[in-house]
Subunit: 258 residues, 2 copies
Amino acid sequence: MHSQEELLDFIKNGHKQYLPHVSIDPVIFGYSDQKLKILLLKWKGLEGWGLPGGYIKREEPISQAANRILEERTGLKNVFLQQFYTFGDSHYRTHEQSLKEITQEQGEDILKGSWLFERTLSISYFSLVDHSKVNVTTDFFTYDYHWFGIDEIPELLFEQNEVVDKALTTLRLQLYHQPIGSNLLPEKFTLPEIHSLYETILDKKLDQRNFLRKMMTLGIIKKLDEQRSIGAHRSPFLYQFEKENYEEALKQGIIHAN
Amino acid sequence: MHSQEELLDFIKNGHKQYLPHVSIDPVIFGYSDQKLKILLLKWKGLEGWGLPGGYIKREEPISQAANRILEERTGLKNVFLQQFYTFGDSHYRTHEQSLKEITQEQGEDILKGSWLFERTLSISYFSLVDHSKVNVTTDFFTYDYHWFGIDEIPELLFEQNEVVDKALTTLRLQLYHQPIGSNLLPEKFTLPEIHSLYETILDKKLDQRNFLRKMMTLGIIKKLDEQRSIGAHRSPFLYQFEKENYEEALKQGIIHAN
């Protein structure tokens, strides 16, 4: 947790360290036990739920900022994290109410003209992590967290339901074109394992045989000459992601546009 | 053109009207005579080429800002314009050299601490227009323009070649999933017309029969019970975009993810 002193310094002087007017707000999807969830933090003062977020340091490349913020909130490094949209139409974050609550004892003087009350555009990323491996850390403005199933997301602060919806749409659209699931499966996995992951993310049944054909045709996975022994008469073949293949394909635009 | 007075006011006071630290930089693709081009402006002082751009007004929704900037540069309204990425890794625009040149007579005092020297993230959009209909207007920092063929783009200022490359990749990836070409064709068009547009954008030959089948399967276009008479024995059938169809499909994520 942060001290009150740190918080007051952040309110008064944060803009010397961070760029004002832009925040990074990752939508963190968690997959575990065949369920897709999303990480939300509970805000002080506002008593509602919102996405974890953070600011970009003045000299920090934004992709580095996004990775840093994800690590600060979840403890995870090197996971799939992708920018998908910058929101700035109806999406105005203001910390005013929350800060009034937090700084009650200090009176309101300290809040006057704080950079945190300025209009803030939100550069949004999404990530997909194994949520059983996550250690969540709240930030200055939040005091609790919860992994919500994607079918039970409450009304969010700062009109962030729009952000979550677009993240989910993008995740599903890109599922066949990016190694999105690669950090949720063992390096070598069985067909049922990846099949179940895809069914969960897309929230629908996929015929296993068609699914396999599609994955092989797209060149996303390859079958190994190796089996996993899971019983006397059961030793399914193992598969592996073919990262290079579809990174190349994506670059050349041949996956969609052929 | 802008007066020197306006320019000096923009340098000194622009941040009162516009958000600092973020600009909108549209990659404007022009299609005409079966050629795909891109609009570049020539910068004062820097003597190089760069994308047209602009800033977001303090209370202006960013999609509105993007449309305004496109209209200011091209005179066009209601054309396809889509956000595709926010650059902020290596992409630091600075107006310093350019401004020194422009404000030579004023000395350098006026430039001190100007908001235009601050690090600026670039929210990038792409657009596709009929470039024969465009009236280009340069901005404060530029004095000439040219439509470059996409195979003859020079090295750009502010590392913007990366922006152009990503715009082109995105345009090609989304060509079958969005009504991207709809403002480049007559409302009712022939198969050769749309076929030629797609071949130009993708920069490759497409078998006409397969192309038609794909467009019909995706539900992007529909065949009308109507022909265009273009000669004694030539009256090709007409087609029309099915906007609603694939907007719906895109929303549900069924175009890619089935």
